[in-house]
């Protein structure tokens, strides 16, 4: 649906610009939509797995690669600071914004600080990523992958 595509684009535009997740009302207002129309669009986008809402609410939880809540994957860029949902998404923020930047996180096993630095499309950083859940089951519980 055209409206949902516009809502999605506006949602990301506001997220990039402010560094925080917009509400459905803020997105709707920018597009001249009523709050109910914006709410319906958020629900459809969530049903389509385009965004993830906090359970039982219309508040954004994930607009991948962005996390609307603080996580252990902080991403510093010249455009602002963001949180990724996971290791993959934290690098996804830099890829999506087409920018250099630094991901700061910690080893999930021992807590040692880890830094992933992207400079001129090259990445530097020691470590590995672990995908625990097989790909076919990611959406069984997108908060646990």
């Amino acid at each position: 649906m055209e409206r949902d595509a516009a809502v999605r684009v506006e949602l990301y535009r506001q997220f990039v610009g402010s560094g925080r997740a917009p509400t459905h009302a803020e997105v709707g207002e920018a597009l001249g939509l009523g709050e109910d129309e914006a709410a319906e669009s958020f629900r459809r986008l969530a049903d389509a797995h385009t965004i993830v809402l906090k359970p039982g609410t219309l508040e954004l939880w994930m607009a991948a690669p962005f996390s609307a809540v603080e996580t252990r994957y902080r991403v510093e860029t010249p455009l602002g600071s963001f949180y990724g949902n996971c290791a993959w998404d934290s690098l996804g923020v830099l890829a999506m914004l087409d920018t250099d930047g630094v991901v700061s996180t910690t080893c999930d096993d021992c807590g040692q600080e880890l830094e992933l630095r992207v400079d001129g499309s090259r990445i530097a950083g020691d470590g590995v990523v672990h995908f625990l859940v097989p790909a076919a089951h990611w959406w069984d519980d997108i908060g646990y992958t």
């Binding site: 910690t106 999930d108 590995v128």
Partner: protein, 71 residues
Amino acid sequence: MLAFRSEAHVEGWCRQRSVAKGAVFSFDQLWDLARTWYSDRLSPRWTRATAAEAQRVFDGLGLSGPFWRLQ
């Protein structure tokens, strides 16, 4: 998808939780996946990948085998 110092730390983490180890790869490979998956996310023309499209992305990055099979 969590970051670890090394595969040995992944194995320790899995042992502690009594879960089977999944897929482990380098940050270089993760960066390739992130760029392929997310570089067009801000485009107005972006649409969510179908399972077949996502499978092609994984295959193209050498992410093969049952763990990466979507259907």
